[in-house]
Symmetry: C2
Subunit: 582 residues, 2 copies
């Protein structure tokens, strides 16, 4: 037996017990006549003490020869520590070691296995198996596991069945970002890896499965923006015989269940915001509502005062930054430079200070009287000590720019707290998006997304105004899940394909298979999918998903640990009837 | 709201309630003045009644127009049935329908959606989404879900962490059966899909994860024997700081937990059988011990009696088929023909009958006296009415042949009952297998499998006799799981590579990555993997795994429903820098 206990469980209750522990040598303190070793495993750290007086000189000598990360087994007696460590559960005891076995030696690791390591990102990725030994990484993987278990049990209790859908599927014409898999048994033919199990979950609804879920790997071969992974995990869900309300209820219940587990707090009903409201109030369809700085539109107050920039703007909109009236000119200029960066692209920014002395002043005093400025301040609900920042221009653009500024200030002012959670639903998304480039409509969600019943008539007249029965769950400024009620009516589906500019043949080629299945009695159904990697990161108070993936890939889609992808042998290519043609 | 209740829950308790149900039309009985419809969903069937007297003529007319598999919604009142159906939970009530809505019409399905369908395998696979509506398929998928949940909860409770390992990994030189995935971002390079997460789970042990599991898809591009799938699911597990005994204990606990859930019975400790014993007693390393017919070796009783075939045989071995002494000559000849088929390859078979009248007779009376035959019968433990069947030849061959016969007779005699479970561990497998073709040893399990400590010395002298710390869990004649204690000692690992005939360079190329990780302090570890598809099938009293997979592939690796694999567009190939070269 390698151990009687783990390194996280012995306390004063075990005093004088003979125990055997195993683990990695975390630290060695050699005081000559005595040696202390912190022995580590997944469960914690237990201090070992070696002492020639109380055991043997030989064992003390052996202990001195150990190195960091050696794997050892120690037998001994639980004794009370002289100097206790209240920070760890085992901090009141230590093990007086009577027998020491080296299970495995270790080369010096390329970085320290400490919570604060000296290893850079690149090095830690290459030796990910060592990085996992560190608490910050290990704890994240354990947290992920716990969340997955909670999701599975919650949904199972609600009658959802986890069904494994295939990984080797068919490449579709729209599958430009599909990974493909050549088949040896069917040379010249390819499977594709699923970007999502969308088709299969809808088929399961046609198949009467009623409530389906799956925590499932999905794949997308695309240029990786920071913090995207070519393989990622979804909580994929679908329900039959439901309306939007049923879906929202189940999945806010699930999310509240997870949040309660983490915070101990009840979250009840989540707020709901329409897409239009979100865009108007936060410039963003995934608003972080942990903090205020809601958008205030002031066209009617600022226009007509000869300030040309505002006069010509489609929208003049600003935010009130509470308590920041004391920003220096330098601080404000830095903010103005920040919004002018090409990533944001603003042309400028106007500030108004409601000073602590009651005076309201601004960068546009030339055009506005103090009375004008007071009226504007009033509209913002500003009080003494507040700083208002105003931007102007094309409505869509300026909202996006101001949203970026709002988030930046939220970060800088510490308003985006990792242990605070503000979930909401964003609903009533537009059904269609007009694409200037192709001169046609695109489905904002996907072509099976149902319009809101009361907007169906708009499809004939003003399709761009039709809203969809689509919904996103937003948590702390991140879209963590989204979905829609699906169209299950043939006529409406045809109408949609027309609007999207698909010919009958194109619609048939891209969606014919699913449409065919729908002929045999498709029930009304709706669903959604959560990005599990991101959900877990945010629930853990983080935003970087990579830390929550055991073996992630880098921004070039490479696994630097195993060095994949890599060239393959010619005979493998031959068997697949393939030639690399660089 | 589409429904107030499902079709499986209304009983007399709900009498006179107004309810709304939705589902598929299973059957319509039209008696002119009245119509009955069985409405089906995942949860059951509820009878709807339409009656012009009690509701309206219009609704009756509409009901008559419905077709099988139409999706409808019915509002009405729960009433007591005149003729009750005790076979279903809702059999005492029916719904007097007051409002009927057709949610979707349906074309006539290509086969009947009944427990006993008229659809052939091929057709049902093509329309798998309709096949899933049938109880026999739907119930199997739900059973699979329940087993997965039970496994996850059991292992989580035991401190195992489910860690998702990557699907896009690296192809290795031994990966002849790897599916590969061309990368677009790294043209000319390929990922591989994992045949198992073996490397990653060992890395997780190096990473201190201590107890890992994962229910995970694995992939193998090989010629598919009947009932193999190119993508299959494993319960993959690994533990650190354990010996073989710890692994056996945890996983027989897990399996007993599942079996108890199914049978209500306690299974306690599983029997253990060494590989040698299994081969000698059942001719098979995965014996079905639900029934007897253990092998009896009779060389010393039958040799030296001038029966040349037996005299020249390395082994004469037989089974006692209880109660079959009354088999006719024709029946026995058919059995002899059966073992002579090329798939079995026996040259003949001797029978001995212990007749009900006490006379012992045989097909080789010429060579053996009745006294001889009685002695043989005694060895077999045969009694009046039993039939002994004896085969002879090369020991390994004859055991395999007799094992096939034993299983065939087990099936024919109804001794292999689906609702009876006989799990066992087969242990002490040979470490190495001699390959005549290549003239070298192969690892029977894999090259990291540890020899039994007491057999390590044999590696120097008689490596073929060394036994491994490897184990299989066998259930009802199927290997459902297997694994081993891993080598974590560098010297022993080098010795193994030598024995397997790997040069230093080859070992480095194939296993260098893992060996390198081992340098940084690998703990002792061991693990195993269950074939989840098969496990579920057997636990459900079945042996065909395809029924337990929602969307399986056929024997050519094709998904006939979605028609995958299939050719892809030239521009997709170009982006991957690939050319198909048929």
């Amino acid at each position: 037996m390698f151990r009687t206990h783990t390194n996280g469980e012995l306390t004063l209750k075990n005093l004088n017990e003979k125990v055997t522990l195993s683990g990695w040598v975390q630290t060695i303190r050699d005081k000559g006549f005595m040696v202390w070793i912190d022995l580590r495993d997944r469960y914690g750290i237990t201090q070992l003490v070696f002492d020639a007086d109380r055991t043997s000189a030989e064992i003390l000598e052996n202990a001195k020869k150990l190195g960091r990360e050696f794997v050892i087994q120690a037998e001994g007696t639980v004794i009370e520590r002289a100097s206790k460590n209240p920070k760890i559960p085992t901090g009141e005891i230590e093990i007086l070691v009577e027998k020491l076995t080296i299970l495995n030696s270790a080369e010096l690791p390329p970085f320290t296995i400490e919570d604060e390591t000296d290893g850079g990102e690149e090095l830690r990725m290459k030796y990910r198996y060592l990085d996992i030994r560190r608490n910050p990484v290990k704890d994240k993987l354990i947290f992920r596991h716990k969340m997955a278990q909670k999701v599975r049990n919650y949904l199972s209790d609600k009658g959802f069945i986890e069904v494994e859908t295939p990984v080797l599927i068919k490449s579709t014409p729209e599958g430009a970002r599909d990974f493909v898999v050549p088949s040896r048994m069917n040379q010249g033919q390819f499977y594709a890896l699923p970007q999502s199990p969308q088709t299969f979950k809808q088929l399961l609804m046609v198949g009467g499965m009623d409530r389906y879920f799956q925590i499932v790997k999905c794949f997308r071969d695309e240029d990786l923006r920071a913090d995207r992974q070519p393989e990622f995990t979804q909580i994929d869900c679908e329900m039959a015989f439901v309306e939007q309300e049923d879906v929202l209820e189940i999945f806010e219940g699930m999310t509240a269940h997870l949040l309660k587990d983490i915070t101990g707090k009840e979250f009840g009903k989540f707020p709901r915001m329409t897409f239009d409201e979100a865009m108007k109030t936060y410039g963003n369809d995934k608003p972080d509502i942990r903090f205020g700085m809601k958008f205030v539109e002031v066209n009617e107050l600022v226009q007509g005062k000869d300030f040309k920039i505002f006069d010509e703007a489609e929208l003049v909109v600003g935010i009130n930054v509470e308590g920041c009236a004391d920003y220096t000119r330098k601080q404000i200029d830095e903010l103005i430079d920040w919004v002018k960066r090409p990533q944001i692209g603003a042309t400028g920014m106007v500030w108004i200070k409601f000073q602590n002395d009651g005076v309201v002043t601004s960068s546009v005093n030339k055009f506005y009287s103090e009375e004008d400025l007071k009226k504007i301040s009033e509209k913002f609900g500003a009080k003494e000590g507040d700083l208002m920042l105003l931007m102007s221009g094309n409505a869509n653009k300026v909202r996006t720019q101001l949203s970026a500024l709002r988030m930046e200030l939220g970060n800088r002012l510490g308003l985006r707290k990792g242990d605070e959670f503000a979930p909401l639903w964003v609903i009533d998304f537009p059904l269609l998006e007009w694409d200037e480039e192709t001169g046609r409509y695109h489905a904002m969600h996907h072509p099976f997304t149902s319009p809101k019943p009361e907007d169906v008539h708009l499809l004939e007249t003003e399709p761009g105004k039709a809203r969809a029965n689509a919904y996103d769950m937003v948590l702390n400024g991140n879209e963590i899940g989204g979905g829609s009620v699906r169209i299950f009516n043939k006529e409406l589906q045809s109408k949609m394909f027309d609007l999207l500019g698909f010919s009958k043949e194109e619609a048939e080629a891209q969606f014919g298979f699913l449409m065919n299945a729908f002929k045999f009695g498709a029930p009304p159904h709706a669903g959604l999918a959560f990005g599990f990697d991101r959900l877990v990161a945010i629930l853990d108070g983080n935003e970087v998903i990579r830390d929550y993936i055991a073996f992630p890939k880098n921004n070039s889609g490479r696994d630097v640990m195993i060095d994949a992808p890599s060239p393959i042998h010619d005979d493998q290519l031959n068997e697949l009837a393939l030639k690399v043609n660089l």
